[in-house]
Amino acid sequence: MIDALLSKLQREDAFACAQCGYCVKWCPVYDRSGWESASPRGKVFLLKKMLENNGSSLLTSNPRIASEFVQRLFDCTTCGRCTEECHLELDLLDLWFRLRELAVRQGLAPQSVGLMEKALLASRNVFGMDSQSRTDWATYTGAEVKVQDKADIVYFVGCVTSYSGRSQGIAQSITGILNHVGENWSIMHEEWCCGHPLAVSGATERYREIAEHNVRNIEHMHAKVVVSGCPGCCLALREEYPRILGRELNFKVVHFTQLLDQYVTEGRLHIPELHATTTYHDPCELARLGGVVDEPRRVLRSFVKKFVEPEESGSIGRCCGSGGLLKATNSAMSGDLAEKRSAMLQRTGADIITSACPSCDQNLAEALSKFQDSKRVQDLAELVAQQIGLT
């Protein structure tokens, strides 16, 4: 089974891993757990042992060991820091995804993965909510939303932003700004979950039909650009869809911070100065995996009085614990990682903590609420819209 799922290169990589441990201290999960088997190096070593034993013997022969190993695979935020630190340039992140796929196919994945998959496929959103209520956020927030047959820009809202009350302000802010700069934009008539949760959980069997639906609808709208405020949706549309569908897409995918940066640089958006010290938390899927590091900073620096970098930022940003479905599979660990990151952000002394991902915003806000004298967490889109007076 392992042989069928892992590429030749990945099987080679398990042996090529130098076991140097350079990845270990940067892994947020190892940092919290302290056990070798939780570290990227430990997991690669265990995989190597399985490969030495002609495939999946360890995964199949002893259910207790198999379930323990699978737990390690899902106790991971898929933040990609291990790949970033690996000086042998092994693509460990992709390896974790393939191994999760293996766990799903063998029926060993945590129950929450199966529940999420079932809910997502039935309701077309990750929460299993009524698909008809996907655009209710517009009513709740009073946002002026455009639904057109054709548009230059399609705003892909995403499940968390659509359904989670705390994040709906992001959608309100993004639509407000798009209207403010006079873009010809629209949301989709029938947006489905981007499918990214399926990709990170390994439940990829029916990912293709989701990708096909979303791409077909976007291409019918003749959109040149798809924008989202969710880094996970961006990764799905930009990286995963072309791979699954085996073709280039007829549109460009950008994160909203990239559009904001463009508006500010081109002078289309004037943001009044904010008299506050601000810091920025890089979402892993936006900065490290998506390469968007400078754009949000340029935007922030254009209007905040003082910008301070936190420790471990940019492409080596510390994960907040919300990725990789960890919140579903091990919420206690996810909360601990968020507390650790929040403490780093608190130490900057900033009045406002910003980020650019609805999941990061939520996880950090929950963690920060446990601190005394805690700071605000705001999505960059919300902060900008608020400064302009749109919300």
């Binding site: 076991q19 140097c20 056990w35 088997s37 070593f45 000086h87």
Partner: protein, 480 residues
């Protein structure tokens, strides 16, 4: 109460594991062990414990003595000689949790750290101070202070500042019996030199006080390419004596696999020459003068001095010699200390070994003094080809034998090189045996290492058997 229960009550459930998965993850170090050999040893610990304080170490060692159970101390396990690998199961101490910087005396340049602190963290910590590390290992991004102290202590900076032994003021040690004591220059009954490099067999290092080096106002990296390896060696040796860099490294590539070369080929035949690179620290005039000397010597010997930005890049890459492993996927190596005036001879020998075994090899050499180098060829092999890999592994014995014949020694012993201790350092071994008997009467600490390679049955593997086996493997590897 059973050992496991007692450990759990002492340390807490979350610090003790008997899970098979966890124990497997702790059953190895950097070097893959040939499966055909590993059955001789029980490398799977029975219990893994994660420790956070010196008191934890004291408690576990006391308990281990009571139960007469073997204990294997482990840092980041970035050594490849089996020093952190159990041979008879027992308790494995994961010491990475002892990772606090205890104190920093900025006036005196003294830094006290716990044994699990990673070298790179100290480098980062010192950035905003007026002090630098005098010496650190090539695996600084992950290796721990305690483990480096236990395994020789030669690395970057040794050329200017000596080994770690010369840069440690005192150590709080925990003896195998669980006694905690401080060893400094005036301890009397034992010297720092006796304990440093003892490979976790005589004591566990708890806290170490390092003597830092003053940060110098000027620093510069340097890099040169040489078409002829012999010239590179000559220049590097002269450079070590005349300019005394902080670090000086020579790297050469001997990619011979698949080539139909026959017979011995020497330095002049190595197709890709060599590079030398390193780092100067000092007063501005001093560093400039050293760089001028470097430039002149390089040009004089037909080398090419590379721009400073390339030199900076190479210096910043110094922690990544194992990048080459991706081509392996397995690397076989053994660090040996060789007299610098015999380096050329050693390289020729390595070319010959690589040629005979049809293996690619990259050579890394770090000057540790004007007279000695730390020499570690990285032979590429493939552990998945079990028999071939087993025959390749004999190359480490041949390498150490030759280093000893040249007046050098094995850099360390651990499990795999323990057979070479007598030939390498006979008087030190005798002293070591006495110390071991004195400090570890029950023989619990890192059992079956350094002095002997003890098998799972409790019997030491005879050297003659090892030597015969390795030589036979080597010959069989050549024939088939």
């Amino acid at each position: 109460m059973s050992l496991e229960k007692t450990l759990r009550s002492l340390l807490g459930d979350d610090k003790v594991s008997t899970s098979y998965l966890e124990r497997t993850a702790y059953s190895h170090d950097l070097a893959p062990i040939p499966r055909n050999i590993m059955w001789l040893f029980n490398n799977l610990p029975d219990i893994v414990v994660r420790l956070r304080t010196l008191e934890d170490v004291v408690a576990v060692l006391r308990l281990a003595n009571k139960f007469k159970v073997a204990v294997t101390p482990r840092g980041s396990a970035t050594w490849g000689y089996g020093g952190a690998v159990p041979t008879v199961g027992g308790i494995l101490l994961d010491l990475r949790g002892l990772n606090k910087i205890v104190s920093f005396d900025e006036d005196q340049g003294l830094l006290t750290v716990q044994c699990g602190v990673v070298w790179k963290d100290i480098i980062d910590f010192l950035q905003k101070t007026s002090w630098d590390l005098p010496v650190y290992p090539s695996s600084a991004p992950s290796s721990t202070v305690g483990a480096f102290a236990a395994t020789g202590g030669f690395g970057y900076g040794s050329l200017e500042h000596g080994s770690l032994v010369e840069n440690i003021v005192s150590i709080t040690i925990i003896l195998p019996t669980g006694e905690k004591t401080v060893v400094g220059p005036d301890s009397g009954w034992v010297t720092l030199k006796q304990l440093l490099g003892s490979e976790g067999t005589l004591c566990v290092f708890g806290e170490l006080t390092l003597k830092l080096a003053p940060k110098m106002p000027s620093t510069a990296s340097f890099l040169a390419y040489f078409g002829r390896l012999g010239n590179a060696v000559e220049v590097a040796n002269d450079l070590a004596c005349r300019t005394r860099p902080f670090s000086l490294i020579l790297r050469a590539f001997g990619f011979v696999r698949g080539q139909e070369r026959k017979g011995l080929f020497g330095l002049e035949d190595a197709e890709s020459g060599a590079i030398i690179y390193g780092y100067y620290t000092g007063m501005p005039g001093e560093v400039n003068e050293s760089l001028n000397t470097f430039d002149e010597m390089t040009v004089d010997k037909g080398g090419v001095v590379r721009p400073r930005e390339e030199a900076d890049f190479e210096w910043n890459e110094r922690f990544y010699p194992l990048r080459i492993k991706k081509l392996g996927p397995t690397v076989l190596t053994s660090d040996v200390v060789v007299p610098s005036n015999r380096l050329s001879e050693m390289i020729q020998y390595v070319w010959q070994l690589a040629h005979d075994a049809s293996m690619d090899v990259e050579i890394e050499t770090i000057w540790t003094s004007q007279d000695e180098v730390l020499f570690f060829p990285l032979f590429l092999s493939d552990e998945r080809r079990t028999l071939k890999y087993l025959s390749h592994s004999a190359i480490t014995k041949k390498l150490i034998d030759r280093a000893i014949a040249m007046g050098g020694r094995s850099y360390g012993y651990g499990l795999w090189n323990s057979f070479h201790f007598t030939a390498s350092e006979p008087s030190r071994r005798k002293e070591f045996i006495k110390m071991k008997e004195l400090l570890d009467p029950n023989g619990i600490l890192n059992r079956g290492k350094t002095l002997t390679a003890r098998t799972r049955l409790g019997l030491p593997l005879p050297k003659v058997l090892y030597a015969g086996f390795m030589e036979t493997l080597w010959l069989l590897g050549r024939w088939f």
